[in-house]
Amino acid sequence: MIENNVLPLFFMLAAASFILAIKWMNSPATARRGVIIGEIGMLLAVVGTLLRQDVVDYQWIFIAFFVGSAIGVPLAYLMPMTAVPQRTAISHACGALAVALIGTAEFYRKIPHGLKLGALTIETLLGFLTCTASIMAFGKLQELIPTRPLVFKGQNAFNFTLFGLTALTGVALGISPEAVWLFPVLAVLSLLAGVLLIIPIGGADMPTVIALLNSYAGLSAATMGFALDSKLLIVAGALDGASGLILSVIMCRAMNRSFTNVLFGAFGQVQTRAAVGEQKNVRSATAEEAAEILNGARTVIVIPGYGMAVAQAQHKTRELYEALTRRGTDVKFAIHPVAGRMPGHMNVLLAEADVPYDKLVELDEINSEFAMTDVALVIGANDVVNPAARDDKSSPIAGMPILDADKARTVMVIKRSMNPGFAGIENELYYLDHTLMLFGDAKSFVTSLVKELDASVRAAA
């Protein structure tokens, strides 16, 4: 009675809640409401499932609930914001592994046939692949493995053979499910494919990769919906799949690259164009000189990048923002879509440091303002301000939309040294006549800038 009439309503409401949750994410004003409705949806789905008649043994389920919450709560509250990309990668891995394990259990419970078998095969394949791929992405983000693209001879040929073999095993299993031994083969091949998918991808491409893995995780949940005939899973999975896909398309567009180029294009990246800039001169400045220029500036645009995250300089950057705002300077932050290691990374870091979000301006809106700006201050960003992307057709990043920092009256770049980033692309911006290089660690340099600015206020008073 309840099973047939009430429970479907639970699942329908849960699906509606997820749709609202994502809808309300469109603006910071409603986003927290979105989280709450999302939680309600999840609660409805879980309670609805627990009430099903075929669920009779609750002991292990509740132990898992308890342990999972005991791990999840500290994970959410203790995770530093700079580590959010890593956390996202590792939770993709957990989610995908869960899906793969469910697929495995389902398969061995009663060898399925027909379309259910097909759905289970795809579910398990995607689950295992996303799991190891996310672990590798985590390794790169945490710098446990080298962040540069790892390439070997014949890599693409090898990878395509492996992916082909994996797909072929999946098809074979779909045709003859009685060959049960094919299942572990498929699992191992999928796990392997996940590893090989990620190793040729460099750290700077991680925003695209994380978004893509998000999409895979969603799709695997949706295929599970087909295998278990659950509309709720199909809806939730499709929403996530769409979300991840859109984000990765946005990331690709922000780098003027195609999917194939991000996933299989590691070869073009390795070339280094050394020796080009060797004999060129750069102008460098001390914190004192830089503070003096900032002191006289009326408009400043700060361009943060991954370097700011690495140096944990976001709080000091906010102090700089306040010191400048106090003297009536107009300060904005220019956020490039691929700055950092995941979509929106810079926004979260600056929000954590209490920078008001209406000061965080997107690429399209701010680019016209650089020409009227006194100082463009680059903190730990590199490729996203490289004018070669705009002007030099032969550059590896040609066509990538950039922030036009070079058009500001004075450009200041905080950077550790003149070493090019791992992409190995020379940045013309550093050699311009109106560019000042501020050599040092982002955090300590911004700290001394703030100190100098405050000192000049006291001197004037």
Binding site: G68, L75, A98, L233, A238, D240
Partner: protein
């Protein structure tokens, strides 16, 4: 095979809805969006519950199910909480001084 046809329809509609909704999300919130969808995709917990709790489940499928519930619940809990923690930080004006 009516059931699968219906499922595919639902999938297609949900995917289009997803595209339309997510296109409207401000880039400002892309990171919280990703951790929210991450939590939502842990909806796979419902499949895991059925496998773990069903009558006469074998030891192997109970272990697999238990692990899956554990992993999914970890994602649900940490995903929602960290999303909220991030969103709390987005303020229109700086701290009151």
């Amino acid at each position: 095979m009516k059931q699968y046809e219906f499922g595919l329809f639902v999938f297609m509609l949900a995917a289009f809805l997803g595209f339309e909704l997510i296109r409207r999300v401000s880039p400002l919130l892309h990171t919280p969006l990703m951790s929210l969808t991450n939590a939502i995709s842990a909806i796979s917990v419902v499949g895991a519950i059925v496998i773990t709790g069903e009558h006469g489940a074998t030891l192997v499928s109970r272990i697999l199910g238990f692990t899956a519930v554990l992993l999914a619940v970890t994602n649900v809990v940490s995903g929602y909480l960290i999303t909220d923690r991030m969103l709390k930080m987005f303020k229109k004006r700086g701290p009151e001084k």
